[in-house]
């Protein structure tokens, strides 16, 4: 499971990779939280809070983007930053999980939105799942 940031002229482009879909979604979550606050998940403080998330989508690319959008919205409304996923079910059209968050701190960067631009969840030659995610900053 990994995430990396790749230059984009105005916004932030992230590439994520995971052996299975659950790892891909985990990579997306970790990368997004890292962007909001560098290394936040390495130095978490406070009591963890677990919240349920259930997302359906027409395809696996939409599922990834809608899932990250949902977590981004919950980050702002719940004032929590999410570091872990406890996945009960993940298919190409549905994810059901609990997300584990910690009290929000002052952010490095405000992400306006997770866009569908360039997103394309697919399998690489080595069998791993990958996609780009472009954040509107």
């Amino acid at each position: 499971m990994k995430y990396e940031f790749i230059p984009h002229i105005a916004d932030i482009r992230m590439r994520i990779e995971g052996q299975e879909l659950d790892e891909l979604f985990q990579a997306g979550l970790k990368g997004m939280t890292h962007l909001l606050k560098e290394d936040f998940c390495r130095h978490v403080k406070g009591m963890p809070v677990s919240l349920p998330v259930h997302v359906h989508a027409v395809d696996v690319t939409c599922l990834l983007i809608d899932f990250l959008s949902m977590i981004l919205s919950m980050t702002y409304t719940e004032k929590l930053m999410f570091c872990e996923l406890d996945i009960q079910k993940v298919t190409e059209n549905e994810i059901k999980c609990n997300i584990i968050g910690f009290p929000m701190v002052s952010l490095d960067e405000e992400i306006k939105a997770v866009t569908y631009h360039e997103a394309d969840v697919n399998r690489m030659a080595n069998g791993n799942w990958t996609s780009y995610v472009v954040f509107d900053i």
Partner: protein
């Protein structure tokens, strides 16, 4: 798709065209407002491919357009204008952007920079104290459920009614700071929750509050009408609808993507998702977008109140700030334009483009009706900004639109690699530009080197008679989230 210069036809020294024959899905030509030098720079990213994609939208009229500050976005290019047939043409949330009614306003003072030069550092700190960035913590104003409905309906009027603005400000805001089609019931609870503590906050990215002074006057008559004179201190505010607008766009792009196939619409990039304006979802989005635009105007009005508070602390109650103008640059409006010798109502999408109506337009306040709409073009924090006036060329060629800034030329990653932010802050300080920023990372990303030369961009729109130069502003203090 690859676009080479040989595909682009020169119409005038400042207008270029990719004919609709270039790509079989294009319904209209794609036009570029740029000098040849800027065109070469524009061709380095994917802006023109995105412009061609916009030219394929159902119901598009005239031409898809980009301004000289254009850069690659997601779906639509940033710095793009598209007019679609009203009411059956499409509306696309991606053609407006996530930050609905991101915009800029300019406040004028009666202070001369030479008299208050020594106060600039203290003023920058006072402004930083008064204006929250809102990053993760929100602002000081927490709206109840009823209040947020009122803000979404009333826009800037809400701020004035509650003592956070001056009644005379309203006349100097695009659309008087209130879109009457707004319907708060079309805005999701999640969006309302995101916006509930964000009024009066600027956010991060390229948003700022900046104290400038007028360094040059190019058109004395128009400058006088706008209340501008040499060495006058002014304040620029650049921000939008914050998390509320971001959530409205997110919600409706998802909804529209799910149903656009029902209208037989296919798009080459999911971020171009669109539906006919006269469909139920099209109407719902438009009403929600209007509500978010109202939220943004209220936000800029309340930030002005915070600026005025800091100003009074520094310079006393007699030193007042007046609103010159407030203009949106991420919005869709129903406007009448002349296309192929016929006046037609169209849905004008402006994404990173400023409205720039020429003299005589009844939408302009009486004080500016003889000279044209003020067009405010912020540069980057170490360079100049400009005030222009909308001119006849914009009505004839760009659906009454102009550029909105300098336009990025470096990615955030590249800027961070090239810029030592503490050194930049010190260098600006040596030039008497005092910067207060939430983080050095944010400062590096927005360094002057990351942007095109604003002077070249402004010269282009001036020479094309889209907007005429009125005054140049130079920075003295910059506040960033």
């Amino acid at each position: 798709m690859k676009i080479y210069k040989s595909h682009i036809k020169k119409l005038t020294p400042y207008f270029w065209e990719i004919p609709k024959e270039f790509y079989n899905r294009m319904r209209v030509p794609a036009r570029i407002l740029a000098s040849e030098e800027l065109l070469d720079a524009i061709m380095e990213d994917r802006s023109l491919v995105q412009l061609v994609n916009v030219a394929s939208l159902p119901g598009i009229r005239g031409a898809s357009l980009v301004m000289p500050d254009v850069h690659e976005g997601y779906g639509f290019p940033i710095g793009g204008v598209a007019a679609t047939e009203y009411p059956k043409g499409v509306i696309s949330p991606g053609g407006i952007g996530y930050d609905i009614n991101c915009g800029v306003r300019l406040l004028t003072s009666s202070e001369n920079i030479n008299d208050i030069k020594e106060d600039m550092e203290a003023l920058s700190k006072e402004l930083y104290k008064e204006i929250p960035s809102g990053l993760g913590k929100g602002g000081w104003l927490k709206l109840s459920a009823n209040q947020i409905e009122e803000v979404l309906t009333e826009g800037a009027e809400w701020a004035v009614r509650n003592g956070y603005g001056e009644p005379e400000d309203l006349n100097f805001i695009e659309s008087l700071g209130r879109l009457t089609m707004a319907d708060p019931s079309k805005v999701s609870d999640m969006a309302k929750k995101r916006g509930a503590d964000q009024l009066g906050t600027i956010g991060s990215g390229n948003h700022f509050v900046e104290v400038d002074y007028v360094s040059d006057i190019y058109d004395a008559t128009i400058a006088k009408a706008f209340g501008l004179y040499k060495n006058q201190v002014v304040v620029l505010i650049h921000t939008g609808s914050r998390g509320l607008g971001h959530q409205v766009a997110t919600d409706y792009i998802k909804k529209i993507m799910a149903i656009m196939a029902d209208f037989g619409i296919e798009v080459p990039d999911r971020e171009l998702a669109c539906v006919p304006l006269d469909s139920d979802v099209g109407q719902d989005y438009f009403k929600a977008m209007c509500a978010a635009a109202n939220f943004a105007w209220c936000n800029r009005e309340i930030i002005s109140w915070e600026v005025r508070k800091a100003w009074e602390i520094m310079f006393g109650p007699d030193s007042q700030l007046h609103l010159m103008y407030d203009v949106a640059h991420n919005i869709a409006k129903i406007e009448k334009h002349r296309i192929n010798d016929h006046d037609q109502e169209v849905i004008v999408h402006r994404k990173g483009a400023t409205r720039a109506f020429a003299a005589g337009n009844p939408e302009l306040p009486l004080a500016y009706r003889q000279v044209g709409q003020p067009v405010i073009i912020p540069g980057s924090m170490g360079t100049s900004s400009y005030v222009l006036a909308g001119a006849q060329g914009s009505m004839e060629k760009t659906f009454g639109s102009c550029c909105h800034g300098a336009g990025r030329r470096l990615s955030r990653t590249a800027a961070k690699k090239q810029v030592n932010a503490p050194a930049l802050k010190e260098k600006l300080r040596e030039r008497s530009i005092f910067v207060e920023a939430g983080s050095f990372k944010g400062l590096a990303e927005e360094a002057p080197i990351a942007y095109k030369d604003v002077n070249t961009v402004v010269e282009t729109v001036h020479n094309a008679n889209v907007a005429v130069k009125v005054a140049r502003l130079k920075p003295a203090a910059v506040i960033k989230g």
